[in-house]
Amino acid sequence: MNLRKFLLVRSGQIVVTFWIILTLLFVLFRLAPSDPLSVVADSLMSEEEIQILKAQFGLDEPLHRQYLLYLWNFIRGEFGTSFHYRQPVVEILGDRLPKTALLFTTATVLYALAGISMGKILAWYRGSLLDSGMSFLGLLTHTFFLPWLALLLIWVFGYKLGWFPLSGMISPEIWLDPESSLLAKFMDVLHHMALPMGVLFLTHFGGYMLVMRTTMLETLREDYILTARAKGLPEKVIRNRHAAPNASLPVVTSLGLSLAFSINGGALTETIFSWPGLGRELVASVAHGDYPLAQAAFLFIAAFVLVANLVVDVIYAYLDPRIRY
């Protein structure tokens, strides 16, 4: 199987998985003890608005028709109106998605790369002070409870030292000022991003470093490493070109497996730092009883996870030439 065919098959699986999640969500919301109308209509809406919604979601029709309409609405991108914002759900989420992607993707790339390179170095200098010190540190940060670490960092670096803003994504005074340059705006976002990214980095980095260290130690015992040594290759080439790529394969697998876990962490981080992303929106909408928004935010995140898993698979195939699906 070539890569294109592999991508097609995996995309097909993703569509099926997503359809199952959609269906489960439908069953869940219709089985709810509350009146089905309350799932799409707010008590503050007028009788007329409620009638329109009823027709839109087919609430006066039999269940199977409702289900088909639900799927059709999903395909059209019709998620209803948020009770809280009084605005189409799809507009809200379209605004939040890039902000989550920015924070989450940057953090993931950073901690994965840093974890892999650090683990590689620790395995190379095993038994040294650097090795034991960093392993201990990695274990320590790995076990930190994420919200607590976030509060501590806000307290120390935001409040006591005043180096970083306490929350949010932008400073309005910079963004509303027509004078400010693009660079200033960019630096402002970066400034706001530092602490939430630090939290995600610290809580995830250690795990990847420790896994990479273990697999690298295993790889260094392989015969082909001995061969490379016997050929008289420089140590740096053996480490970076012969051992590290193979050793990082299990790390990429664990990147995919722990994605769901990282998404939980992302939602917590966004909530604590008031980062205007999907995760915070989901938490807030559940607290507000804003069903249309909660449901759609969850589906967006589920889609995000599935696509990210596919990306991990592609990276794996790229790193391991033996795998040509």
């Binding site: 919200p147 307290w155 130690l217 989901l282």
Partner: protein, 311 residues
């Protein structure tokens, strides 16, 4: 990561009695693991905290973690002789809350992990033993469950069902966490299925249930037990996160909830005596189960043990 793949290659164990007989031997190996013993020590400490949680309310009703209030204090105060760790925003004793938190965390962690592992072991054995379409369907289901972000699923559920009680939460965590275990148990079952003693049992006319429960289950149980230690941590973390976001069971107090109170009542910059203890406890209990799991991994996986000795 690699260790779980290689576990299938281990030498066959000869049934549950065998495992029990070797428990002493395993303990001797475990005891040599300093990190593992450290983890166990921490766990004993948390166990003692959980037991001690019954004491303060007996001493004086004002020490009750949820509705005990000091008649003289109605705001958050620092540590004193009367309240060793201080009081929260309503004048409730923080130490007493912390002790109760240990009880709640252990209760939720152990029961959710036990249920998750029980489900995962059953599913994994059935999938591996019967193979074919049963296997495909169960493992596809496991794949779907595995990619779901558990915390967010629970949030959605609580938006529909309202406030979740502790026991509902335990059940939901179990239903979200069985998938990883089932994959491991399935691959173990696949290798057990072709062993001579299973063949012999089949020829002797043993039923499917008998083969699975009498002959295969004892051999996968050590693995299940190992994964339970990892499951406990993730269950504790999910409950703590959920409570931190304000969706915990309001009839009890947990460490996550204590952190939420510090945060939401705006005390995080002025009450370190209140912010630090619950976070330290959650982090340490995570560490405890992580260390225990790693040490058990070495006991059950001789290859790993050799590597550690080599270093």
């Amino acid at each position: 990561m690699a260790s779980s793949r290689d576990r299938g290659k281990e030498k066959p164990l000869g049934g549950g009695a065998h495992f029990l007989r070797h428990l002493g031997e395993n303990w001797a190996i475990y005891r040599k693991n300093r990190m593992g013993m450290g983890g166990l020590g921490l766990l004993v400490l948390f166990g003692l905290m959980a037991l001690a949680s019954f004491v303060p309310p007996l001493l004086d009703p004002m020490y009750h973690p949820m509705n005990g209030m000091d008649p003289e204090i109605d705001t958050s105060t620092g540590p004193s002789a009367r309240h060793l760790l201080g009081t929260d925003f309503m004048g409730r004793d923080i130490l007493s809350q912390l002790l109760t938190g240990a009880r709640v965390a252990l209760l939720i962690g152990v029961s959710a992990a036990f249920m998750a592992v029980a489900i995962g072991t059953m599913v994994g054995m059935v999938a591996g033993y019967f193979g074919g379409i049963v296997d495909t369907l169960l493992m596809r289901l496991a794949d779907i469950v595995m990619v779901l972000p558990g915390l967010l699923v629970i949030l959605i559920l609580s938006s529909v069902a309202g406030q979740l009680s502790i026991w509902n939460l335990v059940l939901i965590i179990a239903l979200l966490k069985w998938a990883g275990v089932s994959r491991i148990i399935r691959s173990q079952t696949l290798s057990l299925k072709v062993r001579p003693y299973v063949e012999a049992a089949r020829v002797a006319g043993a039923s499917h249930t008998r083969i699975m429960f009498r002959h295969m289950l004892p051999n996968v149980l050590p693995l299940s037990f190992l994964y339970m230690t990892f499951g406990v941590t993730s269950a504790i973390l999910i409950e703590a996160s959920l409570s931190f976001l304000g969706f915990g069971d309001p009839s009890t107090v947990s460490w996550g909830m204590m952190l939420q109170w510090v945060w939401k009542t705006g005390h995080m910059f002025k009450a370190p005596y209140w912010l630090l203890p619950p976070g330290i406890c959650i982090s340490l209990i995570t560490l405890a189960f992580y260390l225990i799991g790693r040490a058990m991994d070495e006991v059950l996986n001789p290859r790993l043990r050799k590597e550690v000795l080599e270093q």
